[in-house]
């Protein structure tokens, strides 16, 4: 993470709103070249809106403020045309539902090869040969036949591999994957993740993995940012954050996961659950948005919003959890 090297992406004070509600309320993070960051959060946390803002693909009526530095430019200031020449080339994205995300009336091979032709200017035959090669790399069977298939004719896992092939076709600097396996059958999820993991690594691309699923982040990322109600509440190396979470929300999320340990207690075991519910964006509580659900909430939490990085702790919390080691030392 040397500062001399340019970052794959650098986001500063990103705000996304549509006039009525603000879905992303001041988010900053940096992903170095080849770095892998996980963005974890529940519905309404603003994680998907963050991804769409980076791509410049927000739905009509939504606006972006702040800076998104990528490949030497600030994407926020770019026109749709300028952005479009980067999308799919230096910056690309894999979406959640591969069936609805592929054009239903075009053959999958054509969909991939048109991306190659658009960005590399390769002629049709070259692009088609590259497409076959890509499909092989995606561990898909019978590439020559598969290119002629329509999206509805292939399985969900195959479709998502096609999506990944499209996103990786031009060796992007950064690939954003938004819940790429949520719509897939459980037994296929891991294969697709493994494929995505390897293919991203082979290309040296950076990865921004967006999910509500903590184990996926643990498996694929080196950094994690935890979002709640439009803000990052904790950020840091995965090993550190997941082993010693400082924010009570991160702790709660980790405790909510059924694991082998929970099961081992069989029957009598209980998951520690986070009480209450995720607040809707249009009626957020004052102060820390998590305070109504937080076991450590104080008056200060109800009045003033904590910032990330106070006291050198990468958790936006007035009463951060003490790491186990420090507690012992006291």
């Amino acid at each position: 993470m040397t500062s001399a090297k340019p970052h794959a992406i650098e986001v500063k004070d990103l705000v996304v709103s549509n006039g009525d509600v603000t879905a992303v309320r001041g988010v900053s993070f940096t992903i170095p070249q080849g770095g892998r960051m996980g963005l974890v959060g529940e519905s309404g946390s603003g994680k998907s809106m963050t991804a769409l803002a980076l791509m410049g693909l927000l739905p009509m009526g939504w606006n972006t403020h702040g800076n998104i530095l990528h490949d030497g430019v600030d994407l926020v200031t770019q026109s749709d045309k300028a952005l479009s020449s980067r999308r799919g080339r230096t910056l690309s994205m894999v979406f959640q539902d591969p069936l609805s995300s592929l054009n239903p009336v075009r053959r999958v091979g054509d969909q991939i090869s048109s991306v190659i032709r658009r960005h590399t200017g390769a002629d049709k035959r070259v692009a088609e040969a590259q497409t076959i090669e890509l499909i092989k790399q995606m561990n898909l069977p019978r590439p020559e036949q598969l290119v002629r298939a329509y999206p509805h004719e292939i399985s969900g896992g195959q479709r998502q591999r096609i999506m990944i092939a499209m996103a990786l076709a031009c060796y992007p600097q950064l690939i954003i994957a938004d819940e790429p396996t949520t719509a897939l059958d459980v037994t296929v999820q891991k294969q697709v993740l493994r494929l995505l993991n390897g293919a991203v690594r082979d290309r040296g691309s950076a990865l921004l993995m967006i999910t509500h699923d903590l184990p996926i982040i643990a498996a694929m990322c080196d950094t994690v940012a935890v979002m709640y109600a439009g803000r990052i509440v904790e950020i840091g190396p995965v090993q550190e954050v997941f082993r010693n979470p400082r924010h009570h929300y991160t702790r709660g999320l980790l405790d909510s996961q059924p694991t082998m340990d929970n099961i081992a207690l069989d029957g009598s075991s209980r998951l520690v659950s986070i009480p209450g519910m995720v607040p809707p964006l249009h009626s957020l509580p004052t102060g820390c948005a998590f305070n109504p659900r937080c076991p450590a909430a104080s008056d200060k939490c109800r009045e003033t919003m904590p910032e990330l990085g106070t006291d050198g702790i990468n958790a936006a919390c007035w009463h951060p959890i003490q790491p186990a080691g420090e507690v012992a030392a006291q």
Partner: protein, 315 residues
């Protein structure tokens, strides 16, 4: 695709059969003693029976229906009671007016509606989009005959550019024929366009919100490119469906427009024959129109199969 096409063909034939039965029952069974009506109050019983016998009207209804259908299949549409003219000849003469009118009207409607509707969808939420939506709303509220009247007042009476009515036969003067069709086609096409703009707009809006359009943009298309190359191709599916449904509306509009501009088309003929109780003429002509509409819908269904791989595979 073969199974899909066969299914649709079966439906087409079934629909024609059911429609013919409905028409026959409606006109013949509900119409009373046709021969008596045709000949009027003063006719003698012998004359009525003779006419009924001559046209096979004294046979049982199922037999009459069977004869009618088999004759139609052989191209014999029957003949008029009064003039003894063959319905086929009557109809053919009228088609040279009605068919160009209806098709040009539809074409004009589409030529206007597709770009305007797409533009309105692109600019939804902006003043230009709202104005177009409002114009379309107003256009839908305008009765097609009033549009005809307004246009002929403007271009015929005030400006004197075009005839306000009447017909010059194609063989006499093709230019004259075209001149007599301009205003009718314009009235029909504009009102058609108003209705279609609405559908095109909502079809395009719907498609633009689909994930695959977002994907197209995510791999490097601008908003406009995605709209034109991915959006329109997919929006074609609902639009084709609507055009199929609008064919019936189009025929209705043609009927009225022929009246407004005194064109000697098929509808005027039906109207006159309705008044004269020429049952066989009405029955056969109406059947022809319905076969035409059902056929267009059959073609639309086939087109749908061609456009959408999901449909043809589902069979």
């Amino acid at each position: 695709m073969a199974i899909y096409a066969l299914r649709k063909l079966a439906f087409f034939l079934g629909a024609v059969f059911v429609a013919s039965l409905a028409i026959f029952i409606l006109i013949r069974a509900a119409g009373g003693n046709v021969a008596a009506i045709v000949l009027g109050k003063d006719a003698t019983a012998e004359a009525i029976n003779a006419l009924a016998h001559a046209y096979g009207l004294d046979q049982p209804l199922p037999v009459q229906y069977f004869n009618w259908i088999t004759n139609m299949l052989q191209g014999d549409l029957g003949q008029s009671f009064r003039t003894k003219e063959s319905v086929a000849d009557l109809v053919t003469a009228r088609l040279s007016v009605s068919v160009p009118l209806a098709l040009s009207g539809l074409l004009l409607g589409l030529i206007i509606a597709i770009p305007v509707g797409t533009y309105a969808a692109r600019n939804v939420g902006k003043p230009s989009g709202a104005v177009l939506a409002l114009i379309s709303q107003i256009g839908i509220a305008v009765p097609v005959f009033w549009a005809g009247i307004l246009l002929s007042v403007l271009f015929g009476v005030k400006l004197g550019w075009l005839p306000t009515g009447g017909w010059v036969d194609w063989r006499e003067s093709p230019i004259g024929a075209i001149r007599s069709l301009v205003l009718p086609v314009l009235s029909l096409g504009l009102i058609m366009a108003a209705v279609l703009i609405r559908y095109v707009r909502s079809a395009v809006l719907d498609v633009m919100n689909q994930d695959y359009v977002r994907t197209a943009r995510a791999v490097g298309m601008t908003r406009t490119q995605a709209l034109l190359s991915v959006g329109l191709r997919n929006a074609a599916l609902p639009i084709v469906t609507i055009v199929g449904l609008q064919i019936a509306e189009l025929i209705g509009g043609t009927v009225i427009i022929e009246m407004v501009f005194s064109l000697p088309g098929l509808s005027r003929m039906i109207l006159a024959n309705v008044a004269a109780r020429e049952v066989i003429v009405v029955q056969s002509t109406v059947m022809l129109i319905i076969i035409f509409v059902i056929f267009v819908n059959f073609v639309v269904d086939l087109l749908y199969g061609v456009l959408d791989p999901r449909v043809r595979n589902a069979a």
